[in-house]
Amino acid sequence: MIKTLSSSKFLIPAMAILAMLATSAGFYISLKKSQQSTQANPGIEGLFWPNPKQMNAFSMLDQNGESFGLTQLRGKWSFIFFGYTQCPDVCPITMAVMADVYKQLALEDNNVQVIFTSVDPDRDTTEILFSYVSYFNEHFIGLGGSTDMVDSLTKQIGIAYYLNKEDNADNYLVDHSASIFLFDPKARMVGKLSPPHQKDIIINQFKSIQQFIDAQQ
């Protein structure tokens, strides 16, 4: 075979083409490899990668009545979750777990903020939000405002909520997302922590995600 080929006029161009193919294949593989080492999702639970959501502007009010938006998300790691203050079971469980998480992360000098977002704008006024979040931790942030303000954040994150007012107009219940969303200091949504929420699991997931994101810079 080689012998017959070697007599052929095509040998040199064929070898050249083969060499080019081999080189470009090698280059392609090494390129792929280098992309993998910096960009592939390493399988960290809850990590949004390679396409974390870059947040757009939103406008809410914090527990002191100050405006809270994209600027306040920048420069810190943020845990954001949703609920309402008259929620007796799931919300205080999450708040208490996050108080433990925050206490430990703050001790280790992590740059984090914990943000409770009310999806019950009619009942959860600024004053009520202040009382509610500071009961769990004086550094917690409580976000609220008008329905439009709440929607400016929930729609970007892609979560729904529902006020069950037809069942009971006074003591109505609110269906809300049970996940905790994690934002990096560039205000990108980089992760989602799913229930049931436990202190050690949240801390481990956070640290894995933080380490991965920091290594991408």
Binding site: P88, D89, N171, A178
Partner: protein, 157 residues
């Protein structure tokens, strides 16, 4: 030491009998343990309570209603996740199978307590009436606690 032990046993047996004394059966059908109310921030008027309800009889018993002089209303609820959404569903009643138990616990079945007549703090005690389909009632003195870890006798599974 011996005396302390004896007093403890007497107290224990008293606490077991007391809730049912009004409906004293020969054999105790229902036992409620580890009841507690979660302390809430001062502006919150909707609280949750938890307990373990054991049915020692050989017939199913239904928890038909719960009430308290401290609250305007108490409802039975189930917290559950539906497509990532936390929802609470009101339950009309709760069945406890024969020789079995049901646990009201955080994130699952719980009592929803509306409008306390005073601000409740950890350390306070509240009377709660559990009313059953066999006509019996258990009257439980329920402590207010900050956290599940404070809860006496509670084992999380």
């Amino acid at each position: 030491m011996r005396n302390n032990k004896l007093i403890f046993i007497i107290l224990l047996s008293l606490s077991n009998i007391a809730p049912h004394s009004a409906f004293a059966n020969e054999v105790q059908d229902i036992t409620i343990t580890g009841a507690w109310i979660r302390e809430a921030p001062p502006t919150v008027s909707t609280l949750a309570a938890y307990a373990k309800i054991m049915n020692q009889s050989n017939e199913k018993i239904i928890l038909t209603s719960v009430s308290s002089p401290t609250f305007t209303r108490i409802e039975l609820h189930l917290s559950k996740l539906v497509d990532g959404m936390a929802q609470m569903k009101k339950q009309d009643s709760l069945m406890i199978e024969a020789e079995n138990y049901i646990e009201l616990s955080p994130g699952a079945y719980h009592l929803m307590l509306f409008n306390p007549d005073r601000p409740l703090k950890a350390g306070d005690n509240v009377i709660i009436h559990f009313n059953f389909s066999d006509g019996s009632s258990s009257i439980i003195e329920t402590p207010v606690k900050k956290r599940i870890s404070d809860a006496h006798n509670h084992h999380h599974h």
